[in-house]
């Protein structure tokens, strides 16, 4: 029998790794284990609902399960439902591709005030993640702190008119929430100068399509670095765009110092500029979009800290890491593909070097997985979501884990 490989997490990094492994070694017994009943991770819950083209990589990943023999083991949390050591005992190789889902925080006074939100939590609510909290009341003046693509996604979605969301998979609850948000002003604030911002220029340029906004860019500066100059050029191109009711303001080089408010609710964000001057911006909500860290039951910091070869993704014999879980919250979907191709080569070489040890049972070691969600179960969820889409949406996500499980495991009639 062939070797057994388990990949923990079925987002882009896990799927690209599975693809690279199965292309080189089609005989592998390979399972993608996910804590959610649905696959594809951040392609489903991180790529914005109005970026359906970006979600097109799912067609590649479907082939893993439909043609290449990979197994999907959904609704199984490694570290809770099954121990990492048990998983390692059952498989020849285990790869952690679980991503990073915790929002980084600023670590300044006032972050616990009402009206202070974290980008990951907010987007999980907007994108209908089953573990999401309810959508918050933002009020008329929103500050987004951060200069990555997630910050730009939030600016764009908050600024869009209902018509501009046609064709997306934004759900009815988030759609109604956006339509009734009453937002007048969105400020996006970066700690770094514009030239060092992390967003892609194309994400900024996309804002020039918004119809309900007027955009101003303050203090973008200049840069000799070609990458920095590209970002500044994109910002200059959108400066002055539009005459709509919502104002978007870009600000740079502001270090957040303190969030202040009365009665426990935020009313002002205080910054210091590069010259050391204090700057206060009034706001009704403040969203931090400053990156992600480890969360959950896998001891990522310890595993990465003691890694045999972190750069190569080797944590310990038979234990590997890839994607954001390995390298931190940097890089977009295709970066994971390059990562995966290197790691697949390493894993296959390691398996080869081991010779022929006793057969590992793989998924057969876990009889409880008979009640996990398999690929067929996910396809029932998928079909139900597409069939129920209203006219101006391409899908309506099922937001509740119970409903997903009922459909996937067919334990009851499909609710309408």
């Amino acid at each position: 029998m062939s070797r057994a490989v388990a990949i923990v997490g079925s987002g882009p990094s896990g799927c690209y790794l599975a693809q690279a492994l199965l292309k080189a070694a089609p005989e592998l017994r390979l399972d993608l284990v996910d804590r959610l009943p649905v696959p594809y991770g951040l392609v489903r819950y991180g790529v914005a609902p109005d970026h359906q083209g970006t979600k097109g990589v799912i067609r590649q990943f479907e082939r893993l399960f439909e043609r290449q023999g990979a197994g999907f083991v959904g609704n199984v949390a490694v570290g809770e439902d099954v121990g990492l050591d048990d998983l390692r005992a059952a498989y020849d190789a285990v790869v952690l591709a679980a991503g990073l889902s915790a929002d980084r925080t600023l670590g300044i006074a006032g972050e616990t005030l009402e009206g202070v939100h974290r980008a990951g939590r907010l987007t999980r609510a907007l994108y209908e993640h089953p573990d999401a909290e309810p959508l918050p009341e933002l009020g008329p003046r929103v500050i987004i702190m951060g200069n990555g693509n997630v910050a730009i996604d939030i600016v764009r979605l908050l600024a869009k008119t209902p018509d501009e969301l046609a064709g997306s998979d934004l759900g009815p609850v988030p759609s109604a929430w956006l339509a009734g948000s009453g937002i007048e002003e969105i400020e996006i604030v970066g700690r770094s100068p514009a030239a060092a911002a992390k967003f892609d220029a194309v994400m900024v340029k996309e804002l020039a399509k918004l119809e309900g906004v007027r955009i101003r860019v303050l203090g973008a500066g200049a840069s000799d670095d070609p990458e920095g100059a590209k970002k500044i050029a994109a910002l200059e191109a959108i400066d002055g765009h539009g005459a709509g009711p919502r104002r978007i303001t870009f600000r740079f080089g502001l270090t957040p110092m303190e969030l202040a408010g009365e009665g426990g609710r935020i009313s002002e964000a205080r910054f210091q500029d590069a010259q050391g001057r204090a700057i206060a911006l009034p706001c009704s909500a403040f969203v931090t979009a400053i990156g992600f860290g480890a969360e959950g039951v896998l001891p990522r910091d310890a595993l990465i800290g003691s890694a045999a070869d972190r750069e190569a993704g080797v944590l310990a014999p038979g234990l590997y890491a890839t994607g954001w879980f390995r390298r931190g919250p940097q890089g977009t979907i295709p970066d994971n593909r390059a990562d995966a191709q290197l790691l697949a080569t390493r894993i296959l070489a390691d398996l080869e070097a081991e010779g022929t040890p006793a057969q590992k049972p793989g998924r057969n070691a876990f009889p409880a997985w008979a009640r996990a969600v398999g690929y067929e179960g996910w396809k029932r969820i998928d079909a139900a979501e597409i069939a129920a889409a209203p006219e101006n949406r391409c899908r309506v996500k099922i937001a509740s884990r119970e409903t997903m499980l009922a459909l996937a495991l067919q334990t009851e009639e499909c609710p309408q």
């Binding site: 359906q52 083209g53 590649q60 064709g167």
Partner: protein
Amino acid sequence: MNIMLLYGTETGNAEMLAEDIMAELDGDHDVECRNLSDFAPDEFDRSRLHMIVCSTYGDGELPASAQPFAEALKAAAPSLSGIHFAIFGLGDSEYEETFNFGSKGLAELLASHGAVQIGERITHDASGSDMAEDLAFPWAARMVALAEEKIGENA
């Protein structure tokens, strides 16, 4: 027909489409499928049809796997006269200003060195409702038919 099927890819979507086209044409034709990153400008062959699938990435740029090829072609500046190619683009109309600029840029680059484009450049829109292969398979069949006339005549 002897076909060199080349792809330029960033996310793998163009690679998958190229493999699908290969499966579609294989049997009736002699097809070799290669990543542009593994293809050198001096490998063009007058007796072959070069069928290219190329995506677009970032701000209208060539995808990662096509960039070394484009750089090598610009540096070597070979004459590609008598070389025939057909090209299919992948893009996303969400980014309308630079929609399918990757395949457009690559076609222009090849033409500037004297290569002859067969047929029209067809583009797929990731934000549209068509499946890429539903556009690409009929395109590939048309390109092969056109190439049989042209390369056959010149041979």
